[in-house]
Amino acid sequence: MIESIPLHWSFDYNQGAQKPDYARELIELLHLYKDSSDSRNVNTVNGQHRRHVYQILPNYWHGYQRRNNQNESISIGEVVVERRQENGDLWKYNVRYINNTNGENLRYRFSCRDEIYRPLHENWNVEVHNSCTDIYSKLSWDGYLTSIPEIQLRINNTDITAGKIDNSLPITCNWALFDVFPALVESNKEKVDSVDIAILDDLEQLRPKCRIGYLDTIESPISLVGYFLYGTGSLPSYWWIDTYGNTVIFSSVFETLVLKEKMG
């Protein structure tokens, strides 16, 4: 850890990942967002239209190699999480995920009900474009929840079941968690006991039993409240929320997403 800029263990990948500039870049991104004129908008969770842009910093050691330019950003991509509130009780999400390492450019479209755990609503669609030069160039799938309930996916006109869900658990998508944790803060539930939840990762892989809960509160590099997400089939991840209701940092073994720009 670089002594002058200590990071919380849940997103500190300074040394082990052989990225000495990691902390500097992460903090610069945080300040870029924090200093922007739009960052202090209040009551954002209930806003009509929200758009957050995250830089993807790599945490993994072997897959990342600094390019020739030592001053180049270590970023390996960008995520844009955009959503609009419609009919008062629905959030329509449009998430774009661009990863320069694996060549995939994904667009997720889905809806969630306007509740704390953002339960998935009706159907969804994912489009993937792959920039690599081999045979695979694109894929798309549609999905929906049946009444059982189970997850159904249709990939190139082939229907498959992607898992059944315990009816007692809320089911949401990992991309909606960017709003679930701020909602927990807003509802003053941030420090209650952990909660079981089902996650449909990337609208594709069901993690039928996960757990979310309060992790920690920190004041440096900025004031943040942290949460964890653990579960079957899921690598631990950590989510940090600022005092204005924004998920500012998401970190797992492979990547750290840092908020760099927001609207709403």
């Binding site: 263990w9 945490n59 792959n130 081999d134 694109k138």
Partner: protein, 472 residues
């Protein structure tokens, strides 16, 4: 079977043989690998040829041991004149496809296969969360579109659970949290320490120099970090390893679900295996590179989710020693293609079909260029070659005079390999017998000189370090 089957070879990376819930492991949930097992035959005495990625994969590709392929460690280069599985199948009338991790240095995967997906920068290790998901997407696209008249061979190389290495690298210098104190996990959710967490320090020089000493040849920074670990750290490491496996199991599940909905299901042979295992705290080790069971013993399942191929369902074969060299002959047998001359492997098809045939009586494994093991029903014999004073870059063996220290374990009475019997006078006869098996096995290998400068330098540097140890 009226027509030649499609063949789907699904492989994971760093996946120990017992890290599958259908085999009784209570610390993880792998419903999809379980499904492969439930529809096929699991070989429980299955061993990699060499507990490191590139070396083991060079054996899968060629049916040869790693002192023959030119890849006796990760930096080796496959000899150009050795045919690989993609080329062999293509010549035999199959469409040969590859997706995901390949990691056979010296052979351009795109020259041997039609490649579905191989990343932007050729997939190596690391980044499984990105690459494995993309590989599944590529296979989904393939399975829902393939309509050629030729049968296909498709190999899918998933990276996970190899990226447990990323967990280790990430914690080289940073503090690992105590998830119990953090209130994230309860202690009873963490797997216990393995029963063989302790170890007999009378190991080979090779293992000590590679994995134990302060400036160990392999990942000494991780070694330095884990020396500070307490019991809970080790248990949390094990807990994380199982999550990586669950993650790749879900990817496999997507492939199987799609396959089941296609017309290929009845006539697609599925082979599932892993290149090597993961020590996962056994003998206070992490990763692979060692010749203990956790690193060298891997799953090997031959299966079919439909009814078009004669395979007994949900059967364990606890009898026959299976090796990574058997992949190519097995695939060739099912594809009705002649196995390339010189292959060291044997087709598993007769065993899958329940036939009684002559079979090998031991497994043979190489490691870190100089390490060797012979595994019989009763014993495991581990030894090493002492590096030559003047290196000729021909992988060592068979050379009785050049053999170094020995580890001998009684597999029946000490399955955890806790007590090295090599220093017990009563076991000299067993050691002699095992050594003779080793030398006989090696006399049948076509060992080839390492010709590339990079791997030659590795041999020289490592050899010098080992020589220092032997001379002092």
């Amino acid at each position: 079977m009226n027509q030649r089957p499609n063949i789907l070879f699904i492989n994971t990376d760093q996946h120990s043989w017992d890290a599958i819930s259908a085999y009784g492991n209570p610390y993880l949930h792998t419903p999809n690998i379980d499904l492969i097992h439930q529809n096929g035959v699991s070989f429980t005495k299955s061993y990699c040829t060499d507990p490191v990625c590139a070396a083991a994969r060079s054996s899968w590709a060629t049916g040869l041991y790693t002192s023959e392929t030119g890849v006796p460690f990760n930096g080796g280069q496959l000899h150009p004149d050795i045919p690989d599985i993609g080329q062999v199948l293509k010549k035999g009338g199959y469409r040969s496809f590859h997706c995901g991790k390949w990691h056979v240095p010296g052979r351009d995967v795109r020259e041997s296969f039609e490649v579905l997906y191989y990343g932007n920068d050729n997939i190596g290790a690391g980044g499984a969360a990105y690459y494995d998901s993309a590989s599944t997407h590529a296979v989904a696209d393939f399975l829902t579109n393939y309509d050629e008249k030729e049968p296909f061979y498709l190999q899918i190389g998933y990276i996970d659970p190899h990226d447990v290495c990323e967990y280790l690298h990430n914690h080289e210098e940073k503090r690992i949290p105590n998830p119990v104190e953090q209130g994230i996990l309860s202690e009873n959710e963490l797997p216990p320490l393995p029963e063989n967490f302790d170890y007999d320090i009378r190991e080979t020089v090779l293992n000590r120099v590679c994995r134990r000493v302060d400036d160990a040849l392999i990942h000494s920074r991780i070694l330095k970090a884990v020396r500070e670990w307490d019991e809970l750290h080790w248990r949390y490491f094990r807990w994380n390893y199982y999550r990586f496996i669950e993650k790749v199991d879900a990817e496999i599940g997507r492939v199987l679900s799609l396959l089941q909905q296609t017309s290929f299901n009845d006539n697609t042979l599925i082979i599932f295996s892993a290149d090597h295992g993961e020590a996962c705290g056994s003998h206070q080790l992490f990763q692979k590179f060692a010749l203990y069971e956790e690193s060298v013993r891997v799953p090997f399942i031959v299966s079919c989710l439909g009814e078009g191929i004669s395979i007994e369902k949900e059967r364990f074969d606890n009898t026959h020693f299976v090796s990574g060299v058997d992949l190519l002959p097995t695939v060739c047998d099912y594809a009705n293609i002649e196995t390339p001359e010189g292959s060291q492997g044997m087709s598993l098809r007769p065993l899958v079909e329940g036939k009684d045939i002559n079979w090998r009586e031991h497994a043979y494994i190489e490691s870190n260029y100089w390490g060797r093991a012979i595994i019989t029903d009763q014993h495991k014999y581990v030894t090493e070659y002492i590096p030559k004073t003047t290196e000729d870059f021909i992988p060592p063996g068979p050379d009785e005079k050049q053999l170094g220290l020995v580890q001998l374990f009684d597999k029946q009475n000490d399955p955890g390999e806790n007590v090295n019997l090599a220093y017990e006078p009563n076991y000299q006869e067993v050691i002699d017998t095992c050594r003779d098996k080793l030398l006989k096995q090696e006399s049948q290998l076509n060992r080839q000189k390492i010709v590339h400068k990079g791997p030659q330098n590795t041999i020289t540097n490592w050899g010098n370090r080992l020589q220092d140890f032997w001379q002092n």
